[in-house]
Symmetry: C3
Subunit: 315 residues, 3 copies
């Protein structure tokens, strides 16, 4: 693996998920693989799970870590090619990236979408610049449109909990108060489409995701129907792709225990952070259905599987 | 030791202080004890000594460290149980803690009091949530009411400087311009009450500390009387516990060289940061009485003794 | 070497530059030299290259790193001796430094000038306090008047690219929209004056640098003349030293490809960050003249040479 920016960089997603689960059992087996190697983590946005789990993953492989919060630690970066940089931005991203990558062996970047300019977001302005200018392998820590580290952890989680060969997995939209990216949903759909699970997406009309990522997935506009016989219920809000970035109110779509009880004893998943009693009710989050902490824990072994693979292919 | 959140977690405080002093002489003796182990440090508030000394302590034991400034690196955390999270806070603390602790082997947290809501502060809203939800051992890096890492360093410092078996130790309130927590004073009183030192607290009336922590200590309202024959003078401001969070003006209570000269050549202590010429005058801080830098330096070996003990009991 | 705060701390600058280039070829040769040692990095200002390259340099030597962003992680520091600290600043720098240095084996500090108070800046208020109060060796990560880590990398870069024994090196001022320190230019002049290169500084009248640092260098007010036969063109803006901190507009001084073509196929250098099309035009930065990324990359081996030297002399 040369980079990990989307599922397209992964030869065999299912095998990578199983590699992650194997690493979870023996996390220190390769704890000298990353000796003398440094992971650089560049954050344009806030992060808790991604920051901590990826750092820990690097440590477990014997790597060292440099973390840069771009906005507060460093300079505002210009993105526009050819800009006359006489405003607030002190450095062009095309100059910052080759420099940062010359100090690191692997570079990882988090850059959320604007949710205002669909075209810029969906051409992955920041991630593309990193791909173009980085001199070392790149990890996507959540970009404008995708969050593949999350999806890998999601796949590993489902694999470790599934009771049947071909579980019914439902991704359901849920309400939220502010505009959220489509990245987790886009990415999850992409990864699910690579499995032979029975996969369905459910959301109110007007919240269709980009065909680029979900194409091929079954879409059902009735949440009730979608949840029938579900083995896994993945809850996630996203803002509108069509009416780009719009928050659509549909409070009835909140996930709760009553809805889960009508499934096939489904496991409840969410990538976190979750706004309790807005996206998912306490009675569901605190029920036996919930595997959200195990899912979050699997971010660690998943990141470790990715780093391990990048390091091995650098040798 | 399972956690280090207050003196109640410590079997034998005096023995731990002497362990710290032994570590100070041989800081790298156990520099592989923490191999493959990670300390997660979670800051809700600013920190210099605690941040740096605890990090260094972890390094000396071969641990790695992940530091999270909650407010700037991550999400605002909701503390209220059952909250409908439709406001500014993106994640509930009850969800963040199990996740963070699943990436770490020891979790450490700093969370100051509000100094507005006495009940919330004195039930240790944040620290209690960590204790309840953490899946790994916990260190208190200063909570709403206590600062045990500081107190352990204070005890070690007194032990290393005392000239008599049972020194006279005086904790004296001093003025300050803004409302400060009672935590250092509460905690110091607690630890002193566990020794057989001759321990006295002096402060203006109206600045009584919580009985919960200082109970048993001798209180003297005349600073002059209290300082007589003192071997150690520990200076610290705190805001009112009674009239909760109120700043009480009493500029005469500033510590200075003249006052120290009336003691038994007392050693001057302060936990730092100290506002010079408000809390303590330059002539005292820059005199031979002062052991404030040695006291601060002892934060390192104290934190190391705590981490060592937690790691050993995890095995 | 006891400290690295300016060229005056360095016995033989040219030999240190060549040591850096040797380290670049074998970066892990001394990767246990820094075992059990910790570098403390204290930032009063933003940093990208310095932060990342110095951290990586420490890692390559087996050191661990503690990074403190003073303003956001810790307390506001008082600089004034004898101040009555009843305003916003919670800790005096004279107390913070001995404490920080007691937790570290090497301390590094970045503190930019005010560009408002020439006297304070040129007496190096912050750096001097560190020199006075630190109990461990000190590295200057760019101070009010100097940036020696940059200059060392600059010298190493010129040494690795020069085609003749005594290259013609030109430092040319270039326009900028906001007031920038003189530190990079001061320091570069100092280091160049220690070589036997043919060194010239060119800038508009009124932008003379401090004699303290550039004394002895050839100054030419015509950029066109200065650039003739140049082998290296180092572009850098600085605000006025005379009319302290003033931004002087001279857009014609922008560096571009056309100007470079009139040189002796000169290599183009800049310390970065660079505002494109204000300081240097895209056509120059993106031409074969540019060695800005190699120059930035050399920050790593230069910092490593400095750390190595400090560690060896601590033994």
């Amino acid at each position: 693996m040369q980079n990990f920016t989307s599922i397209d960089d992964v030869g065999d997603p299912m095998s990578l998920a199983h590699r992650a689960l194997a690493i979870k059992k023996q996390p220190f087996k390769n704890n000298r693989l990353g000796e003398n190697r440094v992971l650089g983590m560049v954050f344009f946005n806030a992060s808790l799970r991604t920051r901590m789990s990826t750092t820990r993953a690097a440590y477990n492989l014997g790597m060292k870590v440099i973390t840069l919060n771009v906005t507060s630690d460093s300079w505002q970066l210009e993105l526009e090619d050819g800009a006359v940089m006489d405003q607030g931005k002190a450095e062009h991203i095309k100059d910052a990236i080759p420099v940062m990558s010359s100090y690191c062996d692997v570079l990882a970047v988090r850059a959320f979408p604007t949710l205002k300019d669909k075209e810029k977001d969906y051409k992955e302005e920041v991630l593309s610049a990193f791909l173009k200018h980085s001199r070392c392998p790149l990890i996507n820590l959540e970009s404008a449109t995708l969050h593949p580290l999350q999806s890998l952890a999601d796949l590993a989680t489902i694999e470790s909990y599934k009771m049947v060969e071909r579980p019914r997995v439902v991704l359901t939209w849920a309400p939220h108060v502010s505009p959220l990216p489509q990245s987790v949903a886009n990415s999850f759909a992409q990864w699910m489409n690579h499995t032979d699970y029975d996969f369905t997406i459910t959301h109110p009309k007007g919240l269709e995701l980009s065909e680029q990522f979900v194409s091929g997935a079954n879409v059902e506009f009735s949440q009730e129907k979608a949840l029938q016989n579900a083995d896994f219920v993945y809850v996630k809000n996203w803002s509108s792709y069509e009416d780009y970035g719009k928050v659509i109110a549909a409070p009835d779509w909140i996930m709760n225990k009553k809805k889960l009880e009508r499934t096939n004893q489904a496991k409840l998943m969410h990538c976190l952070p979750v706004r309790r009693n807005v996206v998912i009710a306490d009675d569901a989050l605190d029920s036996d259905h919930s595997i959200i902490y195990e899912q979050a824990e699997n971010r660690l072994c998943s990141a470790q599987a990715v780093l391990e693979s990048l390091l091995k292919d650098q040798d």
